[in-house]
């Protein structure tokens, strides 16, 4: 792939989170699937990098119109949704999956556009 295709996907202020840009996922199904297919080390690394930045993320995004976010801000918001999702394995379960939820699944059929 040529050089110009390697561009930053998040706002410049959050360049430190670029290594975790693959957590910038539009749907809950994608975020939950990535959580389940990650190791606890991977989840912890993402959490440790992103959670200290959450307040700065909120301050940055709150200055913008939620329903007209530029693409890079939208991706930052999606990454924040992933942080919320992985907070459960990291802060509570100590494993990617909800304990004793082996056979159970719960699919999102409607979620907000933004």
């Amino acid at each position: 792939m040529s050089e110009e295709h390697i561009v930053s996907v998040l706002p410049a202020e959050f360049a430190d989170l670029e290594p975790f840009a693959d957590w910038s996922l539009r749907t809950e199904a994608e975020r939950y699937a990535k959580r389940l297919s990650s190791t606890m080390d991977e989840l912890q690394t993402f959490y440790d990098a992103a959670s200290p930045r959450l307040e700065a993320i909120l301050e940055y995004l709150d200055a913008l119109e939620l329903r007209g976010l530029p693409d890079e801000a939208t991706r930052l918001l999606w990454l924040s949704y992933s942080l919320v999702n992985v907070s459960f394995p990291v802060e509570v379960w100590r494993q990617p999956r909800v304990p004793d939820s082996g056979a159970a699944s719960m699919d999102v059929v409607i979620e907000p556009a933004v």
């Binding site: 959670s51 959450l54 924040s80 919320v84 004793d100 159970a104 719960m106 059929v109 409607i110």
Partner: protein
């Protein structure tokens, strides 16, 4: 030691003496024959909530619902006159399912000017009238006016859309919901249009999942790890007591405290909840809309300052949960067999004004799913063992009063149907002893 007052009789259950206090049989949840009776006696005869008016924003907006337990599929549509109507989803020509996409058993939704059958092109307008018959002159004395879509009773109550497939039903939704419904009329449901909807196929009888959400006795144990360790030990030590229970006719409600939104001590909750100011009980800060203060009189019936949530069980399969921080949640349980059902959980928030509010709602929604996954899997484990019939009756405690009432109500509908299948059963509304 009790933390909250109980009725003068000494228990909530004794307050409704028709419930009794004996151990309860769960045969009604493991018998295929009983389930077939429930379909005819309950799901084919009572009002069923199928959605919200916001799903039908304009003339021609429609959705279908597969009501397997009631033995039909319905189309719910907003007509050119603005009215919401429901029809059996069947073409009057030769019975093809009228509205579906790709998979005949799956639900669909959209906007259209008319309904056109995929098979022979018969058309129906948004009010259900037949407007076009392909090669009409080939038929024998056919008058299109006789071939409108078969209507299903449909009413809107507080923005909730209900259908009743029994053409002989004479009760309005408001009458059916009774005082418990009337007590929450006026809540600003229409302002809460930011929606998350979850769906799960659950390997248990439909009543077992209502059981799980109609008592909080399980919460300090099953969900122990969702609280931080010290808080969890404290919660298990307390156990669970509701603020109040109310039962009226086939419906019931439990009012519960909710000290977690916001918590008295921030160290009680997990770190991301502290940062975002949100959690299981929703965003800690109420949205700035009218209608939340004062609340309709049916909410927080104990008038407790510790109030957190009211859960209404509207028979047979609809639960409505109103949370103190100003949002609501619905549960639907759609039976597919005696030991399986489809669960739908839908969260409704006031649309967020900014990213912070949006993330607070995201945390509440994600938390809901984490809890519901724990609840859901327990049900399959319960169903499995109930079906062994190794044990056949089970003691229910006072905090499980709504379960006792649900199973009793369902059995009564079946018994009434067995006595007289043609007369809709209206449960006697026994006033509580005072």
């Amino acid at each position: 030691m009790p933390y909250f007052d109980k009725p003068a009789e000494g228990s909530w259950t004794a307050h409704y003496p028709e419930l009794g206090t004996a151990p309860v049989s769960y045969e009604d949840s493991i018998s295929p024959e009983h389930y077939e009776l429930e379909r005819r006696a309950i799901f084919a005869k009572t009002w069923l909530n199928v959605g919200r008016v916001e799903q039908l924003p304009r003339a021609g907006s429609y959705f279908t619902r597969e009501l397997q337990a009631a033995g039909t599929s319905v189309i719910v549509v907003r007509g050119t006159d603005g009215e919401v109507r429901a029809f059996h989803n069947i073409c009057r020509h030769r019975g093809n399912k009228l509205v579906w996409n790709d998979f005949p058993r799956e639900e669909t939704s959209g906007v259209c000017r008319q309904f056109t059958c995929k098979y022979h092109g018969w058309r129906y307008d948004l009010q259900g009238a037949c407007t076009f018959v392909q090669q009409e002159s080939e038929f024998f004395d056919l008058d299109k006016a006789d071939y409108g879509l078969a209507p299903v009773q449909c009413e809107v109550w507080e923005g909730f859309i209900w259908v009743n497939v029994d053409p002989d039903n004479t009760l309005s939704v408001a009458e059916y919901l009774g005082d418990l419904g009337a007590g929450i009329a006026g809540y600003p449901f229409d302002k809460m249009t930011q929606v998350y909807k979850y769906r799960a196929e659950v390997g248990s009888n439909w009543k077992l999942f209502i059981d799980a959400f109609a008592e909080f006795y399980h919460a300090p144990v099953l969900h122990a790890r969702q609280a931080v360790a010290d808080e969890s030990r404290k919660l298990q030590g307390y156990g669970y007591e509701a603020l109040a229970y109310e039962i009226e006719g086939p419906h019931g409600m439990v009012s519960s405290w909710g000290g977690m939104a916001p918590p008295k001590d921030p160290s009680m909750v997990k770190p991301i909840e502290r940062t975002l100011r949100s959690g299981l009980f929703g965003p800690w800060d109420r949205p700035d809309i009218d209608g939340l203060d004062p609340l309709p009189p049916g909410l927080n019936p104990a008038r407790s300052p510790a109030w957190g949530i009211d859960s209404f069980v509207f028979f047979p399969n609809f639960m409505l949960l109103v949370w103190a921080p100003g949002w609501y949640l619905t549960y639907h349980y759609w039976p597919t067999s005696y030991n399986s059902h489809i669960f739908e959980g839908t969260l409704y928030f006031v649309p967020p004004k900014n990213a912070t509010e949006r993330l607070r709602q995201e945390l509440a929604a994600v938390t809901f799913k984490e809890y519901a996954l724990q609840d859901g899997n327990t049900l399959e484990a319960t169903q499995m063992m109930l079906e062994t019939r190794a044990v056949t009756t089970f003691p229910l405690n006072d905090q499980e009063i709504l379960l006792r009432h649900l199973h009793k109500t369902a059995r009564e509908y079946v018994a009434a149907y067995q006595r007289d299948p043609n007369t809709p059963y209206t449960p006697v509304r026994v006033p509580a002893v005072s």
